[in-house]
Symmetry: C2
Subunit: 410 residues, 2 copies
């Protein structure tokens, strides 16, 4: 078999990400109960089905009255009470008042609330200590929201507050995007899952389950395939089992070594290769294409490179598949804790620790050795410092842009 | 029944939080599979069960050789290949080399790697173009981590990278703290769950499910009890069903209104009240105590107050129950987008929008009206601006401390 023909141009990180996103569509909607909708992505705007408050209500504990009766020293007769859920149905005449509480419906015709602290109660009489102002301490019907008003836009990952708003808007069911299924295929003769027998000269596989966790953090459903040996037929067969996935991630086999067989195996399965090289470090060999309808991202086998590439490319891909309108990985600001040399033509992503200095931006200190074999160091990092291609040297104290891994659950 | 005796002193937010945390213990450990351990809290340190790399390995594709043979223009005989997972078992003499790849074990006795780009291969011969330096491009055994080294400390909410490190350290099972069960009891004659019939003058209940989502965001397992009417016996009975929970949250019934029956119902059940007033806004009436062994937090019925209080008190409580060593709600820095008047004696928590200005700190703009009845506005907020008691006026452009709700899934 002839070696595959490969495009040699190295893409920028931004161009590569844009090309990956361009090949992805959000999943279709499913209906889930409100109690299961947290952290899912709304597939349609959530509009209010009623107005809130449903009527004029009291904002305080006190007495509802005709505001014109609300002069200091006036004495009113308390003719009833209207606790929340038990509106006062009668007519209230001048000189009369009704006991109300926060959330009580203001009885018909009344326009003033005497707050409890400004009242002297004595049996069925109440004496006014402070002038009552018309409309004060009354929340008007619809002041919070009106029927038809959109409270949560489509494409939003639902927060606890969104769930509260959807509840108040009377939605027991929410249309959300189906969680995208992301198949994960780790390849290599030398790897074994934790606790399984380790082959001679082999190591424990860490990529598949780290990536599965990242997929969960990004809102997807991981499908971890059995490890495939470095064998074209085995890899092709594994890919076939993944064909209903919304995205296939492979790890290993994306560099130029003789034993990197993922590319040729996928080409046997009809891979249309989009690109395979990015001007970045760690992780230059990153493959992207489609196998039939299924998009695939081929991550490096090196665990550090795999995770860094997954943060830069898989997380935005997940956001797009989940239907999120915001696909960008959030960037933060930090202050450099050690000088950095000028960068070369590859965008760099330096593993670093953060020292919080609330409310100041945190201090970010890169590890002096950035060997991509150092998995423990990656686990101990809290941030990646982004270094643009050809960035000039940076002094300690300089502002830098970072990705805060700790905030992403990654 | 006489009115309950209540301590009248208003606590500071910090004092109240410290008293809540002092009454809580982390849950016990359970064993979960590595694939289920993401976002759980490690109940024990995760130490490496082996060293990594397990032997000296190549960091590059190329040729392993005796470094003393690595002079420019020298020609070596390639006597074998050592792909990852297939170590070369033979002896390598002076003048000989073995083909290696990233991750390949360096054959015994060799101490140099000629990288592929610096080699000219011709059949079983390879010509050296650049001098090979002793030890360069070799990752030494144990360079990443050694057996027994702690890779993940106890008390850490496990990230995707931690899962990768635990995998590489050969752990198929992880000891994590059991998810704390948080019972949620919404009370009130006037409320109904979404989609259910709404009582006359009533509203749709939003607190229970917003709090359930917050409990999930904080790592707990919500147990949403049926809504209890404003009736002592019903509330006492509901509390009894919650007695195996790790924490009881009530919502409603924590202010001084005549119809606030939660307190007296819980006192019938043996509530030991710790405090019930905090010098804060929104949400002054917040109750804390224990019913038997079970800690309880009584949140205000107002949805905005309930969520703000939950962020300030329930999230740290969850962190403690989950066994996390970091219980603090993360604070961020932002630049004020509008002036603020001086504050009174109550700590304030202003609902605000954020305008990202990466990599600068975001601009935070408080809503001009901070009515705690405005649930839609809370859902549209991205941050709470923290205003200390007696804070002086602040100009637009001033640095302020905020809680970024958007980053918390809340």
């Amino acid at each position: 078999m002839p070696p595959p023909v490969l495009p040699q141009h190295m893409l920028s990180v931004e161009e590569a990400r844009a090309r990956i996103l361009a090949g992805l569509q959000p999943t279709a909607a499913e209906m889930v109960g409100l109690s299961e909708a947290w952290d899912r992505v709304a597939a349609a705007p959530i509009a209010a089905r009623l107005m809130h408050p449903p009527a004029d209500v009291s904002a305080m504990d006190g007495y509802a009255l005709h505001a014109v009766d609300g002069a200091p020293h006036a004495v009113l007769r308390v003719i009833g009470s209207a606790p929340a859920g038990h509106p006062f149905a009668g007519q209230v005449q001048r000189g009369e008042a009704v006991r109300v509480f926060t959330g009580s419906i203001i009885p018909a015709g009344l326009d003033g609330v005497l707050v409890q602290e400004d009242a002297i109660a004595d049996g069925d009489q109440v004496t006014i200590r402070e002038r009552v102002q018309t409309g004060k301490h009354i929340r008007l019907a619809g002041q919070d929201f009106r029927a038809g008003e959109v409270l949560v836009p489509a494409g939003r990952r639902l927060t606890a507050r969104d769930i509260g708003a959807a509840a108040a808007a009377n939605h027991p069911w929410i249309a959300v995007h189906r969680r995208p299924v992301v198949a994960i295929l780790a390849t290599g003769d030398e790897i074994a899952l934790p606790g399984n027998p380790i082959p001679p000269g082999g190591i424990v596989s860490s990529n598949a389950h780290a990536l599965a966790a990242l997929v969960r953090a990004g809102g997807g459903q991981p499908l971890v395939l059995p490890i495939a040996p470095d064998d074209r037929a085995a890899i092709a067969a594994a890919t076939a089992t993944a064909r209903t996935a919304d995205l296939l991630l492979t790890t290993g086999g994306a560099s130029v070594g003789t034993h990197d067989v993922v590319l040729s195996a996928l080409q046997e399965r009809g891979l249309e290769l989009d690109f395979w090289k990015i001007a970045m470090r760690p992780g230059k060999p990153l493959m992207h294409g489609h196998v039939g309808e299924m998009p695939m991202i081929g991550l490096p086998g090196n665990p550090v490179s795999a995770i860094v590439c997954a943060v830069l490319f898989v997380l935005p891909a997940l956001a797009r598949l989940c239907g999120r309108t915001d696909t960008a990985v959030p960037l933060s600001r930090a202050v450099l804790g050690a000088p950095l040399p000028a960068n070369d033509r590859r965008a760099d992503h330096l593993r670093a620790t953060l020292s919080p200095r609330d409310p100041q931006p945190p201090l970010v200190t890169p590890f002096p050795v950035q060997d991509s074999g150092m998995l423990a160091r990656l686990a101990h990092s809290q941030a990646l410092i982004l270094r643009a291609p050809m960035a000039p040297p940076a002094q300690a104290g300089a502002d830098v842009t970072v990705i805060r891994l700790d905030l992403l659950g990654i």
